[in-house]
Symmetry: C2
Subunit: 399 residues, 2 copies
């Protein structure tokens, strides 16, 4: 059916999300049924505000450069769509003769796509709505992994390896380093710091994910044990670290800021304070924050290509008549990494949070298993570049 | 004079500091007068503890990989050398027949080198002590710039550009972003975030350096003005931001942590709190911390090569009979970037802090001048890779 296409980018940006947008645009240009190729500015808000842009007018050069450009070129939004909004959304989709609807995003965005697809169907308006997965949190169900995760994983592995070399070098001057990693409910990205390790005693020495509750006492004990054994300790802390009762670690610590507000320093501040109580070893932390999701210099080439291909696959699915589905990455069994592109019904995905399975967390709850490393390794693209350490042959002492 | 060589890496590591070490080792291997090539483990502490390693036993492959490896391969230390230490240092230098002494570091390290050189001379012990400049703070006197700065500058420019795209994309959801940049007394690295800009309204929109005091009221006013005009605002905050009286900005805000200690949240926390008091616009911050000095993936090729060459030049200077000097980078006048390697007496450098000149700070004290950009641009190596923005041709509204 002839009509217009509408695409939006929703939720947190990633380093490769524009690849999905470009994939959609370039595939759409191959199909005569698709007339206008429109983008929503700042996600569904752009539709509600009728702030749409004509993506056919972008040059091939722009599209090529967008593949290397981080964050959401159309703009994104964190906006909770209301029931009244959905009525207006459908009216607008009809008014603009949108027959192909693509939403690039995570759980919430898949819920929006699902509801839009259902509403159109219930009103007898023929429209093909397809979800395109995207999230550095890697927490979408059904799909093997999510575009955006591999590049964020490459960033955090690189960052913790580099800060690990720095921390070793500092020796007694500053031997304990914490790094706060994104993922409030899902530990995938924190776990991915394990990809920095070549040897068992390489940083990160400890990895704490939200899926496994742990006491502050245990964390401090773990850290000081590593420090005693190796002389330094590098820790990957999920921003969502929890105690065994499921409460945020360090919650209720009573921190107040300059204006009497409860400080939102985050979990690493609480862990750092607890270590400082227990030891004189100097403790520092890094909070790379949104660099984790936007650092284009460390795009994983695998992630970038997959992000592009899920976009193209979404358009082909719509042309095949599909609606109410999301494109999935399906990994083939076997030793080699091979991906095919499937489809899954959005009712299996919307609002479902796929957290780190138990089999990927070590028994002590302070690291990951080899199975996780095998899972995650291909997603960051090329191996991290090799570094060297000195062999440190001692010069005989004169004393 | 035949004898042994001793080298140490001191102070904060950088992404390219191992290039200076490799430069020293490789040049030393060319000179028959140099017998043992020894390294101090964890800087001067390694000498005091007689923890020395034999660098002749490292393979060419290790040396090659070290050039890509961040942080100090020999280990570093923050250790204040005492007067008694100096006596023992000279005794040990004599005992190990050290005739060539190289110390890679910043202000404090140049002071140590200076004192070691003077002490040897005053005792009539022939030894050639040469300082090798290194600091991401770029605050050494006489030299045009310092190895380590260019790579850190490339990192912070990249990071603020990427987080800037992310912040634009978030729109009203999270329109104000602060990034805390290293450099407690010198604003060079914070200023270098300006290299992220292609157009005047590109991030970073505001840059605050320690050299120019500013009130919190002015900062908040600047931020909200940019936000009103552009819809978002990205700010580079030096960790050393000061008020006009020279006190740390936000000092005395009374923050206390979980244990009743005064919180060391840092200046961005104070600025963030002040913006939140004045506006509902959601404000976030990134603190890349030590990633700024250790992120090897963003080594500037110019910086890397210069770090290597200052090491080689230091050895040649010692072979020419020099002592009590530091290698300097001397920039030729003219439109093209050309560097030669000179020497300066350590008494001109030790303990002198070279901060950002007034001519590099704009009149409002919230940005840098074109002269600074011209100065800093060649140091980050290749230009940052090109990104694209959509041209955003509007689709006519149906209303």
């Amino acid at each position: 059916m002839k009509g217009n296409l509408l695409v939006g980018q929703s939720g947190g940006p990633t380093a490769v999300i524009n690849n999905s947008l470009v994939g959609i645009i370039e595939e759409a240009m191959q199909h005569d049924a698709i007339e206008g190729i429109y983008g929503m500015v700042h996600a569904i808000r752009g539709l509600l505000d009728e702030d749409l842009v004509d993506l056919r007018r972008e040059t091939p050069k722009t599209l090529e450069l967008l593949r290397a450009t981080p964050a959401s070129a159309l703009g994104t939004a964190r906006y909770k769509v209301t029931n009244e909004d959905y009525e207006r959304i459908l009216d607008l989709l009809i008014e603009y003769n949108i027959r192909y609807f693509f939403y690039i995003g995570g759980n919430d965005s898949m819920d929006t796509t699902h509801k839009v697809a259902n509403l159109a169907a219930s009103r007898g308006y023929e429209m093909h709505a397809v979800g395109v997965p995207k999230t550095v949190d890697n927490d979408l169900a059904v799909t093997d992994h999510c575009p955006g995760f591999g590049s964020a994983a490459r960033f955090v592995a690189t960052a913790i390896r580099d800060t690990g070399y720095d921390t070793w070098a500092m020796g007694e001057s500053s031997p304990i380093k914490l790094m706060e990693i994104m993922g409030r409910n899902a530990g995938w990205l924190t776990a991915a710091t394990a990809l920095a390790k070549n040897e068992p005693d390489d940083p990160p020495h400890l990895i704490y994910v939200p899926e496994r509750g742990i006491t502050m006492e245990q964390v401090v004990s773990d850290v000081l044990n590593v420090y005693d054994r190796l002389g330094y300790c590098v820790v990957a802390c999920s921003e969502g670290m929890q105690d065994p009762d499921g409460h945020p670690l360090g919650e209720g610590s009573g921190d107040v800021d300059a204006f009497g507000h409860v400080a939102k320093g985050g979990v690493v501040d609480a862990v750092e304070a607890a270590i400082r109580e227990a030891s004189d070893a100097k403790t520092r932390h890094d909070k790379p924050g949104y660099l984790q999701r936007s650092f284009a210099a460390l795009q994983s080439h695998v992630d970038r290509e997959e992000a592009y291909r899920v976009g193209r696959r979404a358009v082909r699915a719509a042309m095949e008549g599909k609606t109410g589905v999301m494109v999935t990455l399906d990994r083939a069994e076997g030793p080699d990494y091979r991906i095919s592109y499937g489809l899954a019904s959005l009712d299996r995905i919307a609002n479902v949070e796929h957290t780190l399975p138990k089999a990927y967390i070590n028994d002590a709850g302070n690291g990951v298993t080899e199975a996780f490393v095998e899972y995650a390794k291909p997603l960051i693209g090329a191996p991290l570049p090799p570094y060297a350490r000195l062999s440190m042959h001692p010069v005989p002492k004169k004393d």
